[in-house]
Symmetry: C2
Subunit: 227 residues, 2 copies
């Protein structure tokens, strides 16, 4: 369970303050499938970085499963991130020197999965995203959409209890995009929490719950009948 | 005028050969607005790199305005690239240490535009893409869609005679995406050649001519009534 209370994220560039998150409060129960929608620059990725404990808010409280994140040790944080959370980053964040397969294996190494099983699961995941003939390619030897699909395989392979997906279909044609959405629906059926960031209403509508963000504020939440 | 004859681009990974372009022939007249559509991995970005003289084909001929590109000196190539062609890259390719404004100014420096005018035109272009309040931000201080809009401003500011745009709306919400398409329609009205790469049929349909690519081959060309 994710609980965010009165969260602010304020950036300073010179004298200018940018309120990327402006008093955001949000609760996401286990096993929910939520889409967070909003225009470019509205605060979606910033919110995801907070939820995924990749960055710290300027102020406000954040609890995962009852634990207050700001009070957790770095070690406990890293441990939780690696074990509980799967990330699909907006810019993929693949390691350039590793092949597709090696990139997909990465989270499993953190989780102590033995080599043989990592190899098997990685190939399976890459096959699911249609890349079994690209496993030895490095990121720069892959098309944009192929890189995105490697990032997706990497996030899904560990079946993380919380999946944070930031624009996971942005670089994909509609067919590949639909396949990815199916994978997420499947993961959700299996009881995982899915938080899907998108600027695309079409994609958002496939989630049971929609939260709209505008200029760093929640402007609508389909749960509890809107805001 | 762009003429491509029997072009191949073949990559080798270990023993495996990937035919990214497989006997592609294509002619694009001055002032045309062409959309090149195809699924992920079909060869769109590779084709754009050839057209933009950013990479060399494995075989085949390529003429720009009657000159055979393979016979041009590096200097002449670079000169033509900088002066004639504007690029919107799929992964933006902004310089990380430069601010948004400095990134937008870059092509104008190559073209010898004086500093004062560069500054004026850069601010104008950033305003057109809705980023006048982000001119001092570096790429990592911008959202994904904002980075894309900086890349767009950079390409459009010089009013290049040939605009090569690779998925220019991928990271944008529908409103920003529509604005970008308007800008391209405007540039086209003013007599520029627009080559728009996209996996999104919706975007492609806004171009007068559609060329479809599949597994490195042209499968359809709306000019000349299909293939
Ligand atoms: N490190 C930073 N420094 C300064 N401002 C920042 C920084 N990171 C983000 N911002 C600003 O915060 C706002 C929110 O950014 P964010 O990346 O969360 O938007 P987004 O909703 O993900 O947008 P997009 O759909 O374009 O990816 C933007 O206006 C951006 O310019
Ligand atoms: N440097 C490279 N080495 C090996 N293979 C490559 C290289 N660059 C591209 N490829 C392969 O060539 C094919 C075409 O790539 P390209 O980037 O042109 O596709 P695309 O149509 O732009 O795809 P997308 O819509 O996903 O961006 C892909 O299958 C890709 O794996
Ligand atoms: Mg974002
Ligand atoms: Mg591409």
């Amino acid at each position: 369970m994710i609980v965010i209370e009165n969260m602010y994220k304020i950036y300073k560039i010179g004298d200018i303050e940018v309120k990327a998150l402006n008093n955001v409060s949000l609760t996401i129960e286990d096993r929910e499938f939520v889409a967070i929608v909003g225009p470019s620059g509205s605060g979606k990725s910033t919110l995801m970085n907070m939820i995924g404990c990749l960055d710290v808010p300027t102020s406000g409280k954040y609890y995962i499963d009852g634990q207050e994140v700001s009070k957790m040790s770095d070690r406990a944080l890293a441990d939780m991130r690696n074990r509980k959370i799967g990330f699909i980053f907006q810019q993929f964040n693949l390691l350039p020197k590793l092949t597709a397969e090696e990139n997909v294996q990465l989270p499993m190494i953190y989780r102590g999965v033995p080599a043989g099983e990592r190899h098997r699961l990685a190939l399976e995941a890459l096959d699911r995203v249609g890349l079994s003939d690209r496993t030895h390619h490095k990121p720069k030897e892959l098309s944009g959409g192929q890189q995105q699909r490697v990032a997706i395989a990497r996030a899904l392979v560990g079946k993380p209890s919380i999946l944070l997906a930031d624009e996971p279909t942005g670089a994909l044609d509609s067919k590949s995009g639909a396949e990815v959405m199916n994978m997420m629906q499947q993961l959700h059926k299996e009881g995982h929490t899915i938080i899907l960031i998108t600027h695309d209403n079409h994609i958002a509508e496939q989630a049971p719950r929609i939260v709209r963000i505008q200029d760093g504020e929640i402007s609508y939440d389909s749960k509890g009948g809107g805001n």
